[in-house]
């Protein structure tokens, strides 16, 4: 067993810093449950060291994807590569993947620490080092004072944190977290975000949740899935600005649309509501500040009151737009 950069592996250390290799690369993944198609040619990659959000509605295929990467069952077709290696080879050579399944169930009669020590030993650590590793991850999820307690005595939120801890034991280079914030109170969600922040850059995390505002705060990449197909993927910043739309919230809604359209033929305008003015532009020709200042100036000159301006969409907006159109 080697100790590389403080990470314990019994075969080879993971390849941090190699930006050429995606931490997770999924190609043309298909999975059916009887007649129901769960995944229909899913392909996406997760950059190494990124915190990637995996977004989709219930039944979109998130948990199936996680289960396939976790090795709970096999795909009907397609390949999964972790650190550039086929999943089977990666796992058979001792490669670790930390997974927090959606409905994780524990051995209720075992202590918190015993769970983690077992996982650490399965990751290849000798008993003493496994104890230290358990302590480390318990501190990370702030459960250190519960180490000796039985799992059955933990609250739901603590059990979720224990699940996150077990996913992090042994420092796996890839961690999959399926709905980790489900049932957590706002304070715990904030704690969870700080835990993920600690991992940023050193561990690749793929996290799914329905709380898109939280995902927007913690993630730097996004993969969107709908009806078993990937509809959008990329860096969060690019995805959110990609639409190149600015929303102006107007004071009283009185605006001569013909005049503004004729004044700015290079932009397109729409008004989903009387108090909202949406300005769409080509990001190759214009940048947000320029469009913003030009339209604002025109609005002020025409004495149109402006209550607010949103130049970046939320992840939720992007997701709703991406999934609104029928999948080809």
């Amino acid at each position: 067993m080697a100790d590389v950069d403080g990470c314990f592996f019994d075969v080879e250390p993971f390849r941090h810093g190699s930006s050429m290799v995606a931490a997770l690369e999924i190609s043309d993944l298909h999975k059916r449950y009887g007649k129901r198609v769960a995944l229909d040619g899913v392909s996406f990659s997760v950059p190494e060291g990124s915190i990637t959000a995996f977004v989709g509605a219930n039944g979109a295929g998130k948990t199936t994807t996680f289960s396939l990467v976790g090795g709970f069952f096999s795909p009907d077709r397609g390949t999964i590569k972790v650190q550039g290696e086929e999943l089977r080879e990666y796992r058979s050579s001792g490669g670790l993947i930390g997974v927090l399944p959606q409905d994780v169930l524990y051995f209720e009669n075992r202590s918190v620490e015993r769970h983690l020590v077992m996982f650490a030993r399965l990751a290849g650590l000798p008993r003493l080092e496994a104890n230290s590793e358990a302590e480390r991850v318990l501190k990370l999820v702030q459960l250190q004072d519960r180490a000796g307690e039985l799992v059955s005595s933990l609250s739901h939120g603590m059990k979720v944190r224990l699940g996150v801890a077990q996913a992090l034991v042994g420092r796996p280079p890839l961690v999959l977290l399926d709905e980790p914030t489900q049932g957590l109170d706002p304070k715990m969600v904030q704690q969870f975000r700080s835990t993920i922040d600690v991992l940023r850059g050193s561990t690749t995390v793929l996290v799914s949740s329905h709380d898109l505002s939280q995902l927007q705060l913690m993630c730097d990449h996004v993969v969107m899935i709908d009806h078993g197909r990937i509809v959008r993927q990329g860096a969060l910043k690019e995805l959110l600005v990609e639409s190149s739309r600015i929303t102006f919230r107007l004071d009283d809604g009185v605006l001569d649309m013909t005049e503004i359209i004729s004044h700015f033929p290079e932009f397109s305008f729409s008004r989903p509501e009387s108090r909202l003015l949406l300005v769409n532009f080509n990001p190759g020709d214009f940048q947000i500040p320029e469009v913003n200042s030009r339209v604002l100036f025109w609005l002020f000159r025409h004495k149109v009151g402006v209550l607010g301006v949103e130049s970046v969409r939320s992840l939720e907006q992007t997701y709703l737009e991406a999934t609104a159109a029928p999948v080809e």
Partner: protein, 282 residues
């Protein structure tokens, strides 16, 4: 290859240790064990008591007694010499050892059914199997279950033999360790594969069930069918009488058939269990 085998062995060791800890802390297992030891103790005490009273009348079973040789000659002439030889051999053994072997053969299946029938079904039912398989292989998990449960019953068997010997030291005035050692060792040679057979057949049923209670019912059905087949359709299992004879009389070569037969049945049940488990959805 060597590294993946080493990892497999390490995983089996870790999971076996965890399973054994759980088993030894399980109330059901502890109650069964205590009950088991109480029964063994009571039987030993009553046996040695009865034997003290009856020994003079059973004297012809002892070595060097002319009655024993005359009985064997008579049985040989009348066509059931092998049976007489077996009875004579068993008769020359300390009766607590012989009777306890019968007791083990009846009691261990009950104990195994009580403690182990849900060995895999419970993890599937609770969802903890998925949790364990995050970091290990199905094969390592499957093998660790077999090993842990076999070790548990071997421990119980050793404890039972120890109780038997300790009680015999105090209760049997003719106790000599060399007189007990050979029969105990011969019985143990046959018992170990028998325990493996029990664990393998129980594991097969447990792999086939997704609820613990189903496993209990199916295990009993399996054994009823199995032993029904043996007793009522003997031509379907021509070797079984010889295999089972070796469990009761593990000498005169019968022990090898018992060992081979039990290992064969264990492999069959273990293999079928593995085939079921390998493909089962989580």
């Amino acid at each position: 290859m060597a590294s993946s085998f080493g990892r497999f062995v390490r995983h089996v060791a870790v999971l076996t240790e965890e399973e054994l800890r759980d088993l030894l802390l399980r109330r059901r297992a502890m109650l069964s064990l205590l009950l088991y030891l109480a029964v063994i103790g009571a039987v030993m005490l009553s046996l040695t008591y009865v034997e003290e009273r009856l020994r003079p009348s059973l004297g012809f079973f002892n070595d060097g007694n002319g009655e024993r040789n005359r009985l064997l000659e008579w049985a040989q002439l009348n066509g059931f010499g092998d049976l007489a030889r077996i009875i004579a051999e068993l008769g020359s053994w300390p009766s607590p050892v012989v009777i306890s072997q019968f007791l083990f053969l009846l009691w261990f299946p009950t104990l195994v059914a009580l403690v182990s029938c849900d060995m895999i079904a419970i993890d599937v039912y609770r969802g903890t199997l998925r949790f364990v398989l995050l970091r290990t292989t199905r094969l390592a998990y499957f093998v660790s279950k077999t090993v842990a449960h076999l070790i548990l019953y071997l421990i119980l068997y050793v404890i039972s033999i120890a109780v038997l010997l300790v009680l015999s030291v105090f209760r049997d005035p003719l106790f000599r360790i060399e007189w007990y050692a050979r029969p105990v060792l011969l019985m143990a040679v046959a018992m170990v594969p028998f325990l493996l057979f029990l664990v393998a057949s129980t594991q097969f049923v447990s792999c086939w069930s997704s609820k613990p209670m189903n496993a209990v019912v199916r295990l009993h059905l399996l054994w009823v069918l199995f032993f029904g087949l043996v007793f009522f359709i003997p031509w379907a299992t021509p070797l079984w009488p010889k295999i089972s004879l070796g469990l009761i009389a593990p000498f005169f070569g019968h022990q090898w058939l018992a060992i081979g037969g039990m290992l064969g049945w264990s492999a069959l049940f273990g293999g079928c269990g593995w085939l079921l488990f390998r493909r089962r959805a989580l």
